[in-house]
């Protein structure tokens, strides 16, 4: 599938914010892992959770597993959402009887994502939920306002809302991902 400059750019900017959440930090075994099997042969030894022991004897061994989900899954969903979303939105306009050029629309929807990228970077810097919600609301409004003239001009005025609502929905779901990811 060909990606326009707009979506490539959006992808390049979203990648660091997703990658940041993988950063290793000094944690404690109590929080990060759980003893997965072993019937008592695996133990987290001290109160701070800095020492974990696994032992192996004649009958069996032991093991532990991380408490975290596979983090790259979030990135995959974000990327798939944006790529598929741009294509589906363009198809939506075409099906409603509108007149747009397919790749122009993909490109525009990708570029209009830029304010949300700025918002994501700001949210990365300061981990406060209220601040994140304000930043995301402002940048979401900005992104939607940027995409509005193009999308509304592309369709019959009686169907304007039908073409614009999905654009808004896509940007809202991106905004939600930004707030929800730590």
């Amino acid at each position: 599938m060909k990606f326009s400059c707009g979506t490539r750019f959006a992808f390049l900017v979203l990648f660091p914010f997703a990658a940041q959440s993988v950063a290793v930090y000094a944690g404690s075994f109590h929080k990060d892992v759980k003893i997965h099997w072993g019937d008592g042969r695996g133990k987290i030894r001290d109160r701070d959770g800095k020492l974990l022991s696994l032992s192996l004897d004649k009958s069996s061994g032991s093991g532990f597993q991380s408490n975290q989900e596979f983090l790259y899954e979030v990135f995959a969903v974000a990327f798939a959402l944006l790529a598929a979303g741009a294509v589906i939105l363009t198809l939506n306009v075409l099906l409603l009887g509108g007149h747009i050029i397919f790749f122009q629309s993909l490109s525009l929807l990708g570029y209009c994502l830029f304010p949300l990228d700025v918002g994501a970077v700001i949210c990365m810097l300061k981990d406060n939920v209220i601040l994140k919600m304000i930043v995301v609301t402002v940048t979401l409004a900005w992104s939607s306002w940027a995409a509005y003239p193009f999308m509304s001009a592309a369709v019959n005025p009686r169907r304007k809302a039908l073409a614009l609502y999905p654009v808004f929905l896509m940007y809202v779901s991106v905004g939600f991902l930004i707030i929800a990811i730590d």
């Binding site: 939506n92 009887g97 009686r158 039908l162």
Partner: protein, 245 residues
């Protein structure tokens, strides 16, 4: 073109003698073929945008009317109103909105529950993928199965009409999910029950008039689709709103 199923009860075959019209203008129904390329490409034609345009021939006011209809299940007039212009816009975007609302409300509920007990919380992306599977799957598979069953019992209904009916029947779940944020268990069950009941009645009543011709089996069919819809509401409530810390 004759690519779409044409329910015999609808009868009229229109469109063969229409004067030249712009393809963007009113298609008065699924049976009305496009004025250009009636058979070019054969099965490949199904992969063009033009093949599906007739199903998106609705204005904002039409969609709003249909949404309002779906909120009043006891009228039973939905199928008449959408018989000649069933749309796929409503079902697709209602499902997509539902997926988003379900995932975000489900996430919000677990977030609040974890923060309340001062526990670590991590975003669970499975909510999104799971709700996508459930909603898209339900609206695709159940009408398809119903279409086959109805054809078997000689009371055929157009496939697109069925998709349209099922898609709009899910609209009531959007406000229901929003209301379910309230952390009172009884209230959540009540909301799930009411929404499931309204949605199921909507589908059942609108289908009833149509399939009475199937004879004594029609009660069985109606009962099973009613229960399926209720089942969906229960599954939603259980998966999204049962939070274990």
């Amino acid at each position: 073109s004759n690519l779409q199923t044409f329910p015999p009860s609808q009868g009229k075959i229109s469109g063969g003698s229409n004067p030249l019209r712009d393809a963007d203008d009113t298609f008065s129904g699924p049976g009305n073929g496009s004025t250009d390329e009636p058979h070019s490409g054969g099965w490949l034609h199904k992969f063009t945008v033009g093949a599906y345009k007739p199903f998106f021939d609705v204005d904002t006011s039409d969609v709003m009317d249909r949404l309002k209809e779906s909120l009043f299940p006891f009228r039973g007039t939905f199928t008449e109103k959408t018989a000649d212009k069933p749309d796929l816009y409503g079902p697709f975007w209602i499902c997509t909105t539902l997926i988003f609302v379900a995932a975000s409300i489900g996430t919000f509920v677990t977030y609040v529950a974890h923060k309340w007990k001062k526990q670590e919380w991590n975003y669970d992306i499975n909510l999104v993928t799971w709700s996508a599977g459930v909603f898209y799957g339900y609206v695709t598979i159940v009408p398809l199965a119903l279409y086959v069953v109805l054809k078997y019992f000689s009371a055929p209904s157009g496939l697109v009409q069925l998709f349209c009916l099922y898609g709009y029947s899910l609209f009531i779940f959007i406000p229901a999910l929003c209301l379910s944020v309230v952390p009172v268990e009884i209230f959540r069950w009540a909301i799930a029950g009411v929404a499931g009941f309204m949605s199921a009645t909507f589908v059942a009543l609108n289908l009833k008039a149509h399939i009475n011709s199937a004879g004594e089996r029609s009660i069985l069919i109606i009962a099973s689709i009613f229960l399926l819809q209720l089942g969906l509401a229960v599954v939603l409530k259980l998966y999204l709103f049962t939070v274990t810390i």
